[in-house]
Symmetry: C2
Subunit: 243 residues, 2 copies
DNA sequence: CGCACACTGTGTGCGCCATACACAGACCAT
DNA sequence: ATGGTCTGTGTATGGCGCACACAGTGTGCG
């Protein structure tokens, strides 16, 4: 039984009792707030120990009294950016519940696109992360799925939301820039993906309504793909029920 | 009509005609080989301009004669790590074909786990990347899906493979380390996810056969989830056919 | 009541990184 | 042959994460 890393101890509120020495001047939540502010404004690249410290009005090295390493800073940011998971309406069926969950997740990623840039080293163990996991699993209450199947299904939706967010997240905050990048991309793709060598891609480009790959992956498109994922889960549910 | 970035020009073999000056001592493919060697051994973090240059026996700055910036290095690495897409057996149905495609993709990610660490800035435009896209789209030949639907379906499978690889890719090459990390994770999760506050997670942990979240996401588990995704696509196909 | 000592925030410094820039030499078109 | 352009190189800059020593602070224990 190994000790929990210090970050997790702090996030779970395992307080050290009163100790000698000066009182801490701030709290990890202050660090999180400052770091999130920087990341929202300039992406994860704008978050450095010195910038965060400057934002708080302290020196760089003071942060290391609260956080063991930069990776821990990411953990704290993540934990604060995703606060409480949505309360799922028990009146809805599982599709309605997991859809609401997925949309809440997507909203979080849209609000804080830098989350997708965080290098993931370990699976999550912090309180809010687990709360989100639990919330996603609970969406399948009432279905005949086994706990493992619920986990797989929740992970599948989780992966889908992350993946689509990744596609649309060109990370530019200005919508004009996004539109321009899309235009440039389709132009180049049209030039490079000639119908003789890339007939499938070329066919996709012929319909100018949808902007093609990496076009506006907006709400409708998101829901459409999510429906496909949920149809797959539904198939497994009915299959489980009949066996 | 803007010029293509230099990296893409080079990858597509748009050669500059013979020019004055000394002949280049090597080629971007040499850079790619050296960088991939480093990344395979020590992850993407082990790839720096100086390390790559040292591997080639040149100075750091010489690389900038071939590549405009570090991001371009990533593009070249990606292009070389994923060589030719698999040739899909036309005898198979779409499920068989896209399954083979997904497995080939997964194999590539397992061979070069650092691919998942590359920060994605722009959608792909390099030759092999497009060839993989085309190959994935072609898997749906013979189905009534529209080109846009094929794109969505291919992206869905693509996202799924990436996502599952992300889960299993604890990035450690030593299987013992992975197993140890899994053990530690389940231990901690069992301690933190108490049944009263996290009943769903706790239920998942009660079945010790599957190691729970981030456990060995091996071939069987991969195929199981992929089946779910393909079932969803199948639902859309039949729905398309009937309308 | 006082004091030892754990703990605080700070300053300095190290090694690594990406990359800008100036330079000496190599080579092709003319 | 020679001018101009391209090559690889050396040097320099600003940023980064973080180790470490230090002076001051405040609590628990004697």
């Amino acid at each position: 039984m190994e000790e929990l890393p210090r970050v997790l101890q702090q996030l779970w509120g395992i307080e050290g009792r009163s100790r000698p020495g000066p009182k801490p001047a701030f709290h990890i939540s202050d660090i999180a707030r400052a770091a999130i502010k920087l990341a929202d404004a300039g992406g994860l690249g704008a978050v450095s120990m010195s910038k965060v410290a400057a934002e708080l009005g302290f020196t760089t090295m003071s942060l290391y009294r609260y956080v063991d390493a930069k990776d821990d800073l990411y953990v704290v940011m993540l934990e604060h950016a995703f606060a409480e998971p949505p309360v799922l309406d028990p009146e809805l069926d599982w599709r309605g519940r997991i859809t609401a969950w997925a949309e809440a997740f997507r909203d979080g990623l849209r609000r804080h696109p830098w989350i997708l840039q965080i290098p993931i080293q370990e699976p999550p163990l912090s309180p809010n992360q687990l709360a989100w996991m639990e919330s996603g699993l609970d969406a399948f209450d009432g279905t005949p799925l086994t706990p493992q199947d619920r986990l797989s299904a929740m992970l599948l939706v989780n992966i889908y939301v992350r993946g689509t967010a990744q596609l649309t997240a060109n990370m530019r905050t200005e919508p004009d820039e996004v539109r321009e990048a899309d235009r440039l991309y389709t132009e180049r793709l049209t030039m490079l993906a000639t119908p003789d060598r890339f007939p499938g891609i070329a066919a996709t480009l012929e319909q100018p309504l949808d902007e093609g790959y990496a076009g506006d992956f907006d709400a409708a498109e998101f829901g459409f793909g999510l429906t496909t994922v949920l149809d797959g889960i539904a198939t497994r549910i009915t299959h489980t029920r009949t066996t």
